[in-house]
Symmetry: C2
Subunit: 360 residues, 2 copies
């Protein structure tokens, strides 16, 4: 593998062949929490292939207030109006970022209106609802992508280049962790992430998905079995089983991923592949504000690569928009997302029953 | 926690209060493989509290040849002669470093002769034989220590200081890995580590024990349940189930350790504790020739501590000798070692049955 592959144009968009358009993808943002306002909208504003034109919220005043601060938004509508087709001529695609268990109706409406969909991860709160989401998008022939940030994060793409080049040999193990003190980040004990009905799960579903999904991406493989343990200790987590979660994912050819996720631990993240010839690790890995580093070990030496950080949400929106503009299928389509939901729900089942759960 | 605790006298022996003796502990080395010759004997020669006086081997010529290169060895005896009590006046303690399933008879003989025992890890190939070892040492009132290197490795002791000081908050997760290409290190497909009867297990027993045991040390806790997966792929590993192993160890209070071990992967090792307030990691961690580093994360910052490396085997022999000279009980006594054997055997059982195994 060429050394320049890890030093030159580190943030190259090797997926991109259309770099400008006179007809950017117009997004309706569905759900106006801090993530949409502070992460997604600035990212879209910076992007070349997309723009935000419509805001959708349960709170009309909030939608109008946020719209007033945007140069491109022409419409602020309520959830009810959205379902009635309001302003549907003003957007091409939706970004759905409501609580997990409320994704489905917005995606169904978008699909019925012929709009493409970028839906936050995890897709939905249950396997059944996630499958309904895929069916709705298929029925109306709209593109569905699940909003994983790691597939277009340069550090992860370069780590995948390292793996794909055979530089670490055959992958043997993956270690992954994502942890955060959710009650310090969002100091509200009634937040939806701690509500099983709204979230479908806590640490496992919300952030354990990063280790699982990034392992899938790096290994180019899907899980075959899962096992693990979950625990909730603090009373704020009484409604969910997994304040903390540790789970193991067996991939084909006996590649094993061990993953941890906590909503009540120090903010930290890493993903590592140990192979027959070396290791590659991204640490920190998963938070958009991280100064990510790429670490590569081979032949008894260690390389530590630092690089210019990009805006993960801009990369993601540009990638999805690029797919729509070129007619290409996104990597993380609905079937891709379903694999995660089935595996993560398998973790809860395995933890409850104390046994391995075979997938698919 | 004082910053000097991580910078000044990093390799302090906080267990030591006797630093010299006119009466060093005289060791009989039982088993003269490369580890004894190249790691243990030089370490003892460098130590202040011990010396090697007797060599015991299945091969008299080998024993005599090695003895000829040592200034302190007066006796070279065969295994049979050892069991007959040969040269027993010339040593105070034995270091047993034969294949796992051959530890027990040497320890039994040593105990009957009233000699203290430093026995390599894992203690034995089965729980039953390990229990017999403990019983024999108890019966004859000799001291038994299992030869873990990590309890006296300064990087691990300092990591434990960090945890004990509460600097990472309450421990939530441990990640551990140890991997090596055993067939490159020991290019013999008939070696004992690949023979279930002689080893009692491969990756899990031989090197998975490092992550498990170091997690116990750092957490100051014993495991309550295990689960995991093992796999052997290459034909050289046909006699053992675990060329590769991934296993999860649940500790009290819902602290979860995820561990991997491979005898057919790149040489690599790490141990990491993620807590509610930060992280501490030793990487590389487990190989005596590593340039270990201590990494501490807290409050959004990372500290990377480099330090002078010590000889792990010298620390271990000095510690054991210190225990014998002072009459103090070693940390890793027989009961301590048994906990590992039971847990590791539980991993094989869990992997075979696809279910969690509760311990003790």
């Amino acid at each position: 593998m060429e050394l320049t592959a890890l030093t030159d144009e580190f943030d190259r968009r090797d997926w991109q062949h259309v770099t400008e358009t006179d007809d950017p993808v117009r997004f309706a943002m569905v759900g106006l929490g801090w993530w949409t306002r502070e992460q997604a909208m600035p990212a879209v504003a910076s992007g070349d292939l997309c723009e935000t034109t419509v805001l959708v919220s349960g709170d009309r005043e909030k939608a109008e207030s946020v719209a007033a601060d945007s140069a491109t938004v022409d419409h602020a509508v309520t959830y009810e109006e959205f379902h009635d087709g309001a302003a549907s001529e003003a957007y091409d695609a939706v970004y759905v970022v409501t609580p997990n268990a409320r994704h489905l109706p917005f995606v169904e409406t978008a699909a019925e209106l012929g709009k493409d969909v970028l839906c936050e991860k995890p897709m939905e709160a249950t396997v059944d609802r996630a499958e309904q989401m895929v069916a709705a998008c298929n029925e109306h022939d709209v593109t569905l992508m699940v909003a994983y940030r790691m597939h277009t994060e340069p550090a992860v793409r370069r780590a995948k280049d390292v793996v794909d080049a055979g530089y670490v040999g055959d992958p043997v193990f993956v270690h992954g962790n994502m942890s955060e003190p959710i009650l310090e980040l969002v100091p509200d004990p009634d937040q939806w992430r701690l509500d099983w009905e709204l979230s479908g799960g806590c640490a496992t579903m919300d952030i354990g998905i990063y280790s699982l999904n990034t392992a899938r991406f790096l290994l180019d493989a899907d899980p075959v079995r899962v096992q693990g343990s979950v625990a909730s200790v603090r009373p704020e987590f009484d409604d969910v089983p997994d304040e903390h979660a540790a789970f193991q994912v067996d991939f084909p050819d006996h590649t094993f991923a061990v993953c941890t996720a906590s909503q009540n631990a120090a903010m930290a993240s890493h993903i590592r592949v140990t192979g027959t010839e070396g290791e590659v690790r991204v640490e920190p890995a998963f938070y958009p504000w991280d100064e990510r580093r790429l670490h590569v070990s081979h032949g008894g030496s260690d390389i530590d690569v630092s690089f210019e950080q990009i805006d993960q949400m801009e990369e993601e929106f540009e990638y999805f928009s690029h797919c729509l503009l070129t007619g290409e299928d996104p990597y993380a389509d609905g079937e891709h997302g379903l694999v995660d939901i089935r595996a993560l729900k398998g973790v809860y089942e395995a933890a409850e029953d104390g046994r391995v759960v075979e997938l698919g």
